[in-house]
Amino acid sequence: MKKFVSGIIAITLLCGTGIVQCADSNSLPLLSTEHAQCRAQVLPSSSEQSFCRIAWRTSILQGIVDAQNNDKPVMIVLMNGHPLGCT
């Protein structure tokens, strides 16, 4: 799902401001080489995390209420599993 969302965002929702604190690449000097390498291989790249830059509401209801308050339509993404968590 993250791949899907990243794909969507990369193509359609390229926002400029960071909303979510994405993983950084700070050094972790206490780690063994193999664990440090594993971390580097697992953590998503900035492009994979571009969906983080969207000001997502995490429930439909929150989206609806904010849409009404802001005079805007709501875009709903519904999945089994939370699209911003584990899908």
Partner: protein
């Protein structure tokens, strides 16, 4: 594109979670989702991407769009094109309806168990390279994201009582078991089941104080977990596979993880200011829901899981996957500290 994304309110949600069943529920939110879905004339699944008015008039959307970013963009454009042509009555909830929505939202937020003063970690998993030859299969680079929640007292249990350099501490087994059962699982390409308590063969994690600077303790973690389950003949969808070509006669599943990490804990503020825990693991087994069945990719195969301090944004306050129908961090009648 940036402008496009700001012209609507983006909302993401899961169809079912404890106390919330958008597909069949009777809450205001459920009824609105059902209203929108009904207009899409798509009975395949409730999953999809939909652009709608606050009062539930579908402007554009489909199930298929979840697989195609270009369709998402088209739905956004179509919805935004229709929006200005609608009257206020066509767009908005009535005053009474909006009041009902606001009350329901307030109640939902009150029920949140997000541990504001505890420890919240993002948990990211991905397959690790299996050879030196790059694998170009479409899903090979997939990753998935979950969150791990710890209350304040649980977070403190990762820290040695003796806060002097060289102090060592065994992290309570129930916390490590919780990681093994609910977070060291194969979610790389979808969902799977958590591990029951009796599948946990090892759950060890120790912390050592490496440095002390004022109120800040630098910690180093080392440990090992191992879960192992053998199919007992009872089929469980999303955990085991029905018999078929390429399905082992005796199905097994498990994760063997070598753990290492480091963290900094602020004794005065009683919270972690940094936290990293890495599970370098071998996983085996798999099912249709976590995508391993299609490729008969039952391992053993290397998988990495990285837990790091999450931010505070709304998007990072999504509950852990296994805050499921059984209850938070519960499996097979065993409870791991949450109610």
């Amino acid at each position: 594109m940036q402008e496009l994304s700001t012209l609507l309110i983006p909302a993401a949600d899961q169809i079912e979670r404890p106390g919330k069943y958008l597909g069949v529920g009777t809450s205001f939110e459920s009824r609105l989702v059902q209203k929108i879905k009904k207009q899409s004339h798509d009975s395949v699944s409730l999953q999809g991407v939909f652009v709608a008015t606050p009062n539930g008039l579908l402007l554009s959307g489909s199930h298929e769009a979840i697989h195609d970013p270009r369709k998402v963009e088209e739905h956004m454009r179509q919805g935004l094109k229709k929006w200005p042509k609608l009257s206020a009555v066509e767009k908005f909830l009535s005053r009474d309806e909006f009041a009902e929505a606001a009350v329901e939202l307030g109640i939902a937020e009150e029920k949140s168990q997000y541990p504001h003063d505890g420890l919240v970690l993002s948990s990211i998993c991905r397959d690790l390279p299996r050879s030196t030859t790059p694998d170009t299969s479409p899903d090979r680079n997939a990753y998935n994201l979950d969150y791990a929640w710890f209350r304040k007292d649980e977070a403190r249990a990762f820290v040695p009582t003796q806060t002097v350099k060289g102090s060592r501490h065994i992290v309570p087994r129930n916390l490590v078991e919780r990681l093994a059962c609910f977070h060291f699982v194969d979610l790389v390409r979808g969902h799977t089941s958590s591990y029951p308590k009796d599948a946990v063969e090892r759950a060890e994690l120790s912390a050592e104080v490496i440095d002390v600077k004022g109120e800040l303790l630098s910690l180093h973690f080392m440990g090992r977990t191992r879960t192992s389950e053998v199919h007992n003949g009872v089929h469980i969808e999303g955990k085991w596979n029905a018999p078929g070509p390429g399905i082992p006669k005796l199905q097994t599943r498990g994760v063997d993880a070598k753990l290492e990490g480091q963290a900094v804990y602020d004794l005065k503020k009683e919270r972690f200011v940094s936290f990293t825990l890495i599970a370098l693991s071998s996983r085996w087994g798999g099912n249709a829901y976590n995508g391993r069945l299609n490729e008969r990719d039952f391992g053993p195969a290397p998988m990495g899981i990285v837990l790091e301090l999450a931010g505070k944004s709304r998007a990072e306050q999504v509950p852990p996957l296994f805050f499921g129908p059984e209850g938070p961090y519960r499996v097979g009648g065993s409870s791991y500290g949450w109610k």
